[in-house]
Symmetry: C2
Subunit: 437 residues, 2 copies
Amino acid sequence: MRESAVPEQHPGGLSRRRLFGLVGAGTAGALVAGGVGGAIGRATAADAPGVEAAATDAATDAVPFPGAHQAGIVTPAQDRLHFVAFDVTTGDRDELVELLRAWTAAARRMTAGRDAGPVGAVDGDPDAAPDDTGEAIGLPASRLTLTIGFGPTLFRTADGVDRFGLEERRPAALTELPAFPGDELDPAISGGDLCIQACADDPQVAVHAVRNLIRLGTGVVRVRWSQLGFGRTTSTSTAQATPRNLFGFKDGTNNLKAENGAALDRFVWVGHEDGGGDWLAGGSYLVTRRIRMLVETWDASSLDEQQRTIGRAKGSGAPLGQRAEFDPVDMTAQGEGGPAVPETSHVFLSHPTNAGTALLRRGYSFVDGSDGLGRLDAGLFFIAYQRDPGTGFVQVQENLRGDAMNEYIRHTSSAVFACPPGVQGEDDWWGRALFSA
Amino acid sequence: MRESAVPEQHPGGLSRRRLFGLVGAGTAGALVAGGVGGAIGRATAADAPGVEAAATDAATDAVPFPGAHQAGIVTPAQDRLHFVAFDVTTGDRDELVELLRAWTAAARRMTAGRDAGPVGAVDGDPDAAPDDTGEAIGLPASRLTLTIGFGPTLFRTADGVDRFGLEERRPAALTELPAFPGDELDPAISGGDLCIQACADDPQVAVHAVRNLIRLGTGVVRVRWSQLGFGRTTSTSTAQATPRNLFGFKDGTNNLKAENGAALDRFVWVGHEDGGGDWLAGGSYLVTRRIRMLVETWDASSLDEQQRTIGRAKGSGAPLGQRAEFDPVDMTAQGEGGPAVPETSHVFLSHPTNAGTALLRRGYSFVDGSDGLGRLDAGLFFIAYQRDPGTGFVQVQENLRGDAMNEYIRHTSSAVFACPPGVQGEDDWWGRALFSA
C-alpha cells in the first residue's frame, strides 16, 4: 500500500503537498482515536485511505537552495515578493549565530516546499505551538527563494559600536549610501541590520516564509520594516518576457541576466580580490529603494512626453528610433527635433554606455493602499544586485540627476546589504564564513 | 495574411494580448515612418511581421460582465484583490451619472481583457494622454471582475444632507453598521460613498483596473481608501478547494457557494419584496471589515488552543470530532472534557445553526508591511455579501461576542455598500435604475 509505505521510505523528505494529502486523512483517524487534542502527524499516515493519488510532487517547482551563489539573485525573477529588514535586538553574538543556523535550516526546508521546522503545523504535541504556521500547507514550493543580506549597522552601529566583533571584517564598500537630490527617505522604513528577500510565484508562499523566519527570530531580531511586491518589473533571464512597470512601460530590457556569465562576474559577484575578506566572495551587494511613482501625474501626461521621458516606445518597448524591443539603443540616431533618444531620458542616462556600469535589477511593483490625499501609494520597490554599491547603484543614480523621470518619482526608503555567497553542503549556514573566522 | 486581416474583421474587439502582438510590431513601423512622436496604433498593423502567432485569446479567461447579478459576488473567487472606496467630491448629480456611465463602459472593456478606453496606451494622438495606463498590455483578462457598491453617505451625508436627491430611494437596510465591542476602527480607512471591488487572478490586472477607474473619476470622486489582498481566503464555488487564511486554517468550508441557488435567494440576493425600491432587486449588500490578525500571538499558542479556538482540525479542516472537512458540524458531539466543538469556538458561534443566518464571504489575506512595533501588519480583509446587513453580518457579528478568536483579531476598518444588480445590454450602466427613476 503506497500510502503507508511513504513514511518509512522518506520520513524526512515529504513535501508540504504530499504531507497534506496524508495528514488530511490522517487527522481524522487521530481525532477519532485520540480525541480533539490527539497528536496529528505523519505517523498516522498508515490510517489514510487513498488520498495519496491526489498529491503532486512539490519538488518540481523548487529552486535549489545550496550553491556557489545565493538563489534569488540570478534566479529567473519570480512573480511576487515579500521583503523584510530586521534590527538585531540581542547583544549576544552566540544568539545571533544560533538564529542564522536556525534560519538556514528553515530556509532549506521551505524552499523545498516543506514546513519551517520538523514538527509542522499539524504534527506533534497538541500542547505545544507547532514549528510551522500552516498557511502554506498544500501549496507547492512555488519557486521560493530566500536571500539574506547583512547591513552596515550589523558591523558597527551609527554610534560606531562594534556589537558583534565584526567591524574589522566589514568591507569598505559596505557603507551607508550617500544622500541624493530629491530623496524623501523615511528612516523608519530604511536600513536594517539584516534583510531577507523572499520571492515566489505564489505570494502566500513568500509571506509564509517571511513570517516563519520572523517567528524563529523572536527575542533575537525584530522586524524593522517589510514590503510586499505584487508584480515583478524586470526579467533576470533571457527566457522571460519583459514585464511592464506601473508607468505602463516594459522595464529592464537591458537588465543583466542569468545568461550573461562574464558580465555577472564583472558587475554582480564580489571577487576574492575585492577586499573585505573572503567571506563575501561569491556574494553580492543588494540595494533597495522604495520608489513612489506619482501615477496620477504620469497618467495625465501625453504619450509623447511619456515616451521621451523613458526613451522607449510604450507599445513595443523599442528604443526610440529603433524597431524592436531588443534593438540596441542608438545614442546618435536623430529624430524630428534632435536625438531620437533624448539626453534627459531614463534609458539614455542609465544605459551602460553613459552610466559606465551595469546592475542586475529584480524589482517589484507595489500598491500600499492610498495616501490620504486621494492618490494611490503605488510604485516600484527597486532591488539591484552589484559587485560594489559605489560603482553600481551610486554611480548610476549620480548619473540620473538630470533624469526627466525624476519629476514623476520619489524615493521614500533606502537600504544596502552585503549578501554572502550560497551555502554549501548540509552543515553550512548563512554567514558561517563571516562569523567563524 | 492573418495579421492585416484582423483589424478589418474585429476593429473594436481586439483583446489586449492580441492588440499587443499587433502593436508590438506596428509601433516600430510607425516610429520609423513617422518619427518618435508618430501615432501608434492598430492602423499600423498591416506593417506587422508574423508576431500574431504568439498572441493568445484573452477572452478564454474573461468573466462575462453583464448579467442578472453583478459578477464578483458568486463568481468563483479569484486569487487577488484590489478594493477601493471613494468619496464623491462633486455636488453635481449629472457629473456623477456621467462617471457611472464612463465607469461602466471601461469595466465592460477591461473585464474583456481590453484597454480602459477606445484610445489605448499606445494609440492615437501623441500629444494627448492615452485612455489607458498601459501596465496590463499583453496580459489576459485574468477573470477580472469589477463590482460597484453605493454607501449610505451617497444617499445622505453624516450631516443629513441629501446631495443627489437619493435619500428617498435609500433602502432602510442601507445604514451605518453599529459599533461592536472591541472595534478599533480608523475612520480614514472606513466608509465611503462608492466602492469598487476588483478581483482577478493576476494582481497587475486588478490594480490596472482600479487605477484606470480612479483616473476616469478625476474631479468627480477621490480615493478615500484602498486595500490590496494577495490571497483569497474562501471559496465561492464547490469546484474550488478551500484555501487557508493567515491562522493557517482552512477558511470558508461552510461558505455559501454559487451552486447553492435557493440559499443564495434567501441569504444573498435582494428581492423585490425587500423594500427600498426595485433599483436594488437582484443586488446585494456588501460589508467589508479589515481584520488585523495578531499572528505573533497566534503563532505562540498551542495547536490545541488554535484548534479549539477555530473548532476545526488544522490539518484536515474537519470539524472537531469529525473525520473530514465537509462533515457536518455536530454541536452535540462530546470530546474528552466537554463538547468536541467548544461553545466559544468560531465555528460553533458563526454556524448557521447558532447564528440563524448565513453569509457569502469572499475575503482576502493582506500584509501591509509592519507596524513599527516589530510585528507584521497582517490579517484578513473580510468581504461578505448578504440580502440584508442587519440579518446578515450584524447578526453574525453580534453572535461572536464570546468568540475565542476575538483575542487574536482587531477590526480596524468597516464599510457597508448596496451593490445594484448586474447591467443588462449594451446601453445599461451601473446604477441606472437608481438614478433614472
